[in-house]
Symmetry: C2
Subunit: 567 residues, 2 copies
């Protein structure tokens, strides 16, 4: 294997000057400029996105000096959050702007190297909360690829024209098919355990045994083998689907992409529009989008997310309310996670005419075209992002709010909901979108998860016509508390103060365990089991201590020193 195709062998990279103690320092480092999540293909620095009939080609060509933050070089198609933000954008563009596309080929613009995974020096110099939230975002992006395959008729081929190691192979694992060049050297590998003393951070272990169903003992050998597996053995072990000689690799990839694209039910019907830029107005305490407002109260470590109902009935707008509002909500959640780490609690509010929300929900539920499906997918994925946000979520349901259907899902996603039982009562209401269109990561709807103890209650509340008055909503179990106007302020204030006093780590762990009752899926395994273990390891001296494997990576002649006790 040529040196440039396998970057993760210690000593082959230039020594990481000053990285050694950064991992500890980073937790107290000065604030970084905020991360922005909006981009556009015209501004991509790390990916080339090209279209040829029914095929899109997404080629990774990471700019070494294009890191989101200073201090590391993105050599060998290694990535940081900035690279992944472009990938997430590309997935969105293909879904919404290119209905003619039925298959996507993900490859590399480099020779003999597909992708070296997440940049180690970026990881080693990142604070723990950033590292964890970075991994969460990359996980969601890979799940968005699988979501597009499952729901949108877009099939994905990882065309490994060179070695895919670590996060590079994990990106390939998100595709429907992995085609590996058979050139005697290109391999797939998960070298994290062996070289860095951490786990693959983007679902690799789970996808190897649960998606590709690699036999667990072979998965063990593979996951401890830094050089990885290539050629026929990679196929025999189910790590890739095919190996193809260099001479006809490009042709075979293209042929297969055309075959897969031919299966799609997408249709270029002239309704596709370029996604609008969100362009929020930003002040230090507020991020104001068209339908979403994010208010920040730094002193209380509190944020308020308010979603406004549509202003007009459904039907006319080229950019329907759901698409715009949930894209804004998605962006706001990412800002909360990455740029406002100190915020511990998020109040979820809505404002506007419930009848208009209901009308838009009915309109969306009734659409049968590709674009309707995509808009619904945006709502579904944004709500999953909400479920997976490591902040306490309290829904606050006041008069003038519109917790109806798709917006009521926000209240169901919340850890608790408070409904003000006043004279001019706030109400909640279900819609056709409440019945199954917006499942959680565990495969159940939020109503099913809520009423695990009494599945018939799901049917009962769905059969209810009209809105639920406060007492009825409480009785039906749709809200947690319904204080009257006299108690409202005190009760809410106390709930917020109590929550704000608790350990943020204990709350993250508690919420992650209580939100996902019921069945487990690949997604919940990745975010629950795998991520929790990775977070633990990311915190351990054996990885990030002065002599830890991650901290010492790339420092010639220095080997990590471990506390050998098994935990």
């Amino acid at each position: 294997m040529p040196a440039e195709a396998f970057p993760l062998t210690a000593g082959r990279l230039p020594p990481a000057r000053g990285v050694r103690y950064l991992c500890a320092m980073a937790d107290n480092a000065a604030p970084q400029p905020p991360v922005e999540f909006e981009t556009h293909p015209s501004r991509y620095r790390h990916w080339k996105l090209a279209f040829e009939g029914s095929i899109a080609r997404l080629s990774m060509a990471v700019r070494e000096d294009g890191g989101l933050r200073p201090g590391y070089q993105l050599k060998l198609n290694s990535y940081d959050l900035g690279v992944d933000i472009e990938l997430a954008d590309a997935v969105q563009r293909i879904r919404f702007e290119h209905p003619e596309v039925g298959a996507v080929v993900v490859d590399s613009a480099l020779q003999r190297l597909f992708c070296a995974g997440a940049n180690i020096f970026m990881l080693a110099s990142s604070a723990h909360p950033f590292k964890v939230n970075f991994c969460k975002f990359t996980n969601e992006t890979r799940l968005a690829i699988e979501d597009a395959s499952a729901h949108s008729g877009i099939k994905w081929i990882a065309a490994l024209n060179g070695t895919a190691s670590g996060g590079g192979y994990e990106l390939a694992l998100a595709a429907d098919e992995i085609l590996l060049i058979d050139d005697g050297s290109s391999a797939v590998s998960l070298p994290e355990v062996a070289l860095l003393g951490v786990l693959p951070g983007t679902g690799g272990l789970t996808r190897v045994v649960d998606k590709r169903k690699v036999r667990r003992d072979l998965a063990d050998v593979f996951s401890a083998l830094p050089e990885g597996v290539k050629g026929k053995r990679a196929v025999d072990w189910r790590l890739v689907d095919r190996v193809i000689p260099r001479s006809h690799f490009d042709q075979d990839v293209r042929d297969r992409a055309l075959e897969l694209a031919a299966l799609t039910d997408r249709k270029a019907d002239g309704t596709a529009r370029e996604l609008e830029p969100l362009q929020p107005e930003v002040t230090p305490d507020r991020r104001q989008y068209r339908f979403v407002t994010l208010d920040l109260d730094a002193a209380r470590r509190l944020a308020t997310l308010t979603v406004r109902a549509p202003a007009e009935p459904a039907g006319a707008d080229a950019f329907p309310w759901h698409l715009r509002a949930f894209r804004e909500l998605d962006d706001a959640l990412l800002h909360l996670r990455l740029n406002h780490l100190d915020v511990g609690t998020v109040l979820l509010k809505t404002v506007g005419d419930p009848a208009l929300v209901l009308g838009h929900d009915r309109w969306l539920a009734g659409r049968r075209d590709w674009l309707g499906r995509e808009i619904l997918g945006q709502v579904r994925r944004t709500l999953k992002r909400l479920d997976l946000t490591a902040k306490t979520l309290y829904a606050v349901i006041e008069p003038g709010s519109c917790f109806t259907g798709s917006l009521f899902e926000m209240a169901l996603a919340a850890d608790r909901s408070y409904l003000l039982a006043s004279e001019k009562a706030a109400t909640v209401e279900l819609s056709p979108l409440s019945a199954g269109a917006l499942p959680m990561s565990n495969g159940l709807t939020r109503l099913q998860t809520r009423f695990l103890h009494d599945p018939a209650q799901v049917e009962r509340v769905l059969a209810h016509r009209g809105s639920f008055a406060p007492a009825a909503a409480l009785e039906a179990g749709l809200v947690t508390f319904a204080p009257d106007a006299i108690d409202w302020d005190d009760e809410l204030r106390l709930a917020l103060e109590e929550r704000a006093s608790l350990s943020p780590d204990a709350l993250t762990g508690m919420e992650a365990n209580l939100r996902f009752a019921g069945p487990e899926t690949l997604e919940t395994k990745i975010f629950g089991r795998l991520s929790a273990w990775q977070n633990w390891i990311f915190q351990r001296p054996n990885a990030v201590g002065e002599k830890g494997a991650l901290a010492l990576y790339g420092r010639k002649g220095q080997r990590p020193e471990f506390d050998w006790r098994r935990t």
Copy 2:
């Protein structure tokens, strides 16, 4: 609530002298005397075990000065590992020695206090690997209670004659029914998040939402409420099954226990025998039981577990081979976990006549009596304990070995297996016990988990008559590698050296993720998702740092200081 019934409010306990920095120090503390796991009701210090016809009564009466290690007092029915070892023994005794019992009442010998949970000062002064392995053992003990309910016709009532907080309520959650005294003060609670900045460590969060199916928002309120919930609300929220006034609490508990006991299919048929003591011969490098040998190679951080085949055909012995051998294996695994933390890799070997193992497996598979069911349960639980042991497991299959049926499950539980393909070939063979009698925690057999990619292969190997020769075993996917005699030594040596060089934390995380492909259950959720989060939190400065909540617990006037960043 009286002070003595609610110990977890800071300031109500005497200050913990010297505990403050122990949690950091403990990781480098001097070696402790080994923990012993064998005990006998005649030696119990913390539990009273009494029998009345079809009911057993297990009353918690923890001796304050009876801690396993010095430095903490077991006040208020709080427990340490020593208390839980007795509980685990009591569960075993009831199963094996009291077939007349169909229901067990677990209560407290104290007034107005059921159990205060794991002792905080013990936790705060324990090293991280000990803490994690302690929690794993207590989890397994609670699962053994549920296993006895599911498989052995023994129903469990937690009779909360006082407050059950933290691990006390988690113990109650393992029972089939929770009856709480209604005295105006006794409550159930999970105060860990609010008071200690950690998670309940014994499955509490999972059982609340997944077993008792408490609505997730109510579970959120409950799990953040240090004083807990009592009376009617505890029933309404599904936290307990009934509340009963003090005046007829004892009578109602007894009546209900009799009702449940009447449902059992257990029978006192005169075959019950007191469990033999194991009495291994112990030297620094070896633990020698009758059928199991544990050899320790401290320099290589390597252990070898060898299980011997029965010496005689099945049928005559009052203590059949399976019962004895798997009890020994169970004990050896606990020693490995708690007393040999540095051991990273365990070689699994067998020796003896495969035909005798097969004979015993067939004999056990054919038994239809309560004792056969119990012996099978011992095998099942021991193999689960093996699956859940955080050490690398390599099965070594050499000539003279007997990896047949129940013993071949050890090879299937291993992360890898090495079979020596010599002239006098070692073989592997399935038995009637391979087909479903010994499921893993995920609910699948080890063969089903292994062949997730090809369920028909399970049927094919089960249909195979006789043993598999090396080439056939390799071809069928039953072993990982089958080197010949020339390569054998080198290959095994290299595999062990490579493994021994890797980060023990990364290996623990990797193995925990690769071993449990397929469906998830309450058990796998507890050991995967919940424990991984707890381990993470147990390692975080917000819990165990100098100003962490766990470290400062009980120190009057000192409040924890948190790094507020959400992760």
